[in-house]
């Protein structure tokens, strides 16, 4: 029974990692950059939800506010911090992203202080039993949201013009440009979608553990990035697989008393193993350099 419980919890937290990892992997695939501020967009979305909750008081309104704010923030960051660096050395972009991460964290600390805010209104109390297995409603909601988000994103990528354009840009930005695709717009759309997903992930995280501080996104961000690399960075199914895998491993590690204190070490060592065995990640493709 412990086994099944670990799987259910793992799928649930893995789903959240996967949703965050999608943001990393899409931005990497299309803009060819690692947006290390992605985790902090989650945190900023959390504060948007906090404000919406204190003004309006309804969780759904808070979610909408979080999504809208994150989309605007993500697009603005891309427009003003990353876009001017297009064509610059990858290292310069990377450093900028890390700087952006600290900027957002410090900004939140200055505005909201370091004491955590409690977003108790987001909590979904209660659980139901399957036999002797206890499943929290919040776990169930997370699972459902994960499935919906992944399905919707897959359909969007496969069956719409912007989705196709995103695949085209991720594969060959210059060729896409010469086919009349506005690659700047596609990159902005990618940041918008990634940031909206970050807001959703933030909501799911706060629903389970309502404590919000300026480092809310730091650890989940790094874990989701790890998940994206495990799955094969740039690959959308890869981010899903990597996220779920990481979540399940984490949950199993927690449920084994001897391993529980070392859970994070266990998680990150999967990354090392995957990189040793298949450097491009589980579903990643080796990129051939074009001449």
């Amino acid at each position: 029974m412990n086994f099944i419980a670990a799987i259910i919890n793992g799928l649930s937290s893995g789903g959240t990692y996967a949703i965050i990892a999608l943001g990393y992997t899409m931005v990497y695939g299309i803009a060819k950059m690692l947006n290390f501020a992605h985790g902090d967009i989650i945190m900023m979305g959390g504060y948007a939800m906090y404000i919406a909750l204190s003004l309006a008081g309804h969780p759904i309104l808070a979610l909408v506010a979080g999504i809208v704010f994150c989309v605007l923030l993500g697009v603005a960051i891309e427009r003003y911090a990353y876009k001017p660096l297009r064509g610059a050395a990858p290292l310069a972009v990377l450093i900028t992203a890390i700087g952006m991460s600290y900027l957002l964290q410090s900004l939140a600390q200055i505005i909201f202080g370091s004491a955590p805010k409690m977003l108790v209104k987001l909590q979904v109390p209660g659980f139901f039993m399957i036999g002797s297995l206890r499943v929290d409603y919040s776990t169930l909601i997370t699972l459902i949201v994960t499935v919906v988000v992944m399905t919707a994103l897959t359909v969007f990528i496969k069956k719409s013009k912007p989705g196709r354009a995103m695949v085209a840009v991720s594969e060959d930005r210059d060729a896409a440009l010469l086919m009349g695709i506005n690659t700047n717009a596609i990159i902005a759309i990618t940041f918008a979608i990634g940031s909206a997903l970050a807001a959703v992930a933030g909501y799911l995280m706060l629903m389970k553990a309502p404590s919000l501080s300026n480092t809310l996104g730091a650890m989940p961000g790094i874990k989701a990035f790890t998940a994206a690399v495990i799955g094969g960075i740039g690959s959308i199914p890869g981010a899903m697989v990597g996220g779920i895998l990481l979540g399940v491993v984490e949950s199993f590690s927690y449920s084994i008393p001897a391993l529980a204190p070392f859970t994070e070490a266990v998680e990150f060592s999967i990354l090392i193993v995957v990189l040793l065995v298949k450097p491009s990640g589980i579903l990643g493709k080796m990129r051939r350099e074009k001449v």
Binding site: F156, K159, S160, K161, P162, G163, R164, A165, V167, A168, E171, D172, D174, A175, A176, L177, L178, M179, G180, I181, N182, T183, I189, K290, V291
Partner: protein, 264 residues
């Protein structure tokens, strides 16, 4: 008559005109004073030894590089310095020397990407899958299928582009370029890496595109048989400058051209 109108009327039947086109990379003049004049419906060849600057000319025409000096007029309109996507919208499409299809998309999706310019559809419609989204997706699909039929690629429509045989990939690249509804089609060494049969098929395809769409084509090519067989006029580049230009037969028998190609 203001100046802009005058330029337009002077170059009425010129689809493409470049005036003193130059680009400099550091100390290297990769393209130096190139003046092309391509008339409507013409098949124009751009030839020259390796490193002569042919592909650089394409990159200038499509906006990938901005010229150091000189002008590019498309249908009389000055497009110098415009962005590649904008230039594509104004009517220049190209294929690549080393085929650059979107390999993770299917054959028909490649053409649908090429159609992106032409069917209105916005983000919100796509995200929320409004009825308008469905209609525009259907239109994309049907127009892409139509184009694939014209190029006899419809039976491969659901193949991944990467899985097509080489000759068909070339053809698909031309179909994708045609999907952007160009007035000028640039073909960058379309016969590269082809066997004689495939080259023959390609020549038929090019002739077909001209007849079917009345397309004006600028072609970079190494294969002299192909150039001699289908181009009407040529410009020969060597070290970035024009070595010779004029009608194909005259240019190809020009001793300096022969020398540039074959050495002394």
């Amino acid at each position: 008559m203001n100046e802009q109108e005058k330029i337009v009327s002077d170059n009425k039947d010129l689809v493409l005109k470049t005036e003193h086109l130059c680009i400099q990379f550091g100390g290297l003049r990769a393209v130096d004073d190139v003046n092309l004049e391509i008339r409507e419906g013409e098949l124009y060849g751009l030839i020259g030894p390796n490193g002569a600057g042919k592909t650089t000319v394409f990159n200038l025409l499509t906006g990938v590089y901005k010229p150091t000096s000189g002008k590019i007029l498309l249908n009389g309109q000055d497009i110098t310095g415009k962005a590649p996507a904008e230039i594509n919208r104004l009517g220049i499409a190209r294929t690549f020397q080393n085929i650059r299809l979107f390999n993770n998309l299917t054959v028909i999706e490649n053409v649908m990407v090429g159609l992106s310019n032409q069917i209105p559809c916005n983000m919100l419609q796509s995200i929320f899958r409004l009825p308008r989204h469905k209609a525009s997706e259907k239109e994309y699909y049907e127009r892409a299928l139509e184009l694939l039929k014209v190029f006899q690629l419809d039976e491969y429509k659901d193949y991944l582009a990467a899985n097509l045989p080489y000759g068909k990939q070339r053809k698909l690249e031309i179909a994708r370029a045609m999907a952007t509804n160009p007035t000028l089609l640039l073909l960058d060494e379309p016969a590269a890496g082809m066997n004689p049969n495939e080259t023959q098929e390609l020549m038929d395809d090019i002739t077909f595109v001209r007849r079917e769409f009345g397309m004006t084509i600028l072609l970079i090519e190494h294969d002299m048989r192909l150039v001699g067989g289908i181009c009407e006029n040529l410009t020969v580049l060597n070290f970035g400058t024009e070595l010779a230009k004029g009608d194909t037969a005259t240019v190809l028998s020009n001793p300096t051209v022969v020398k540039a190609y074959l050495g002394d």
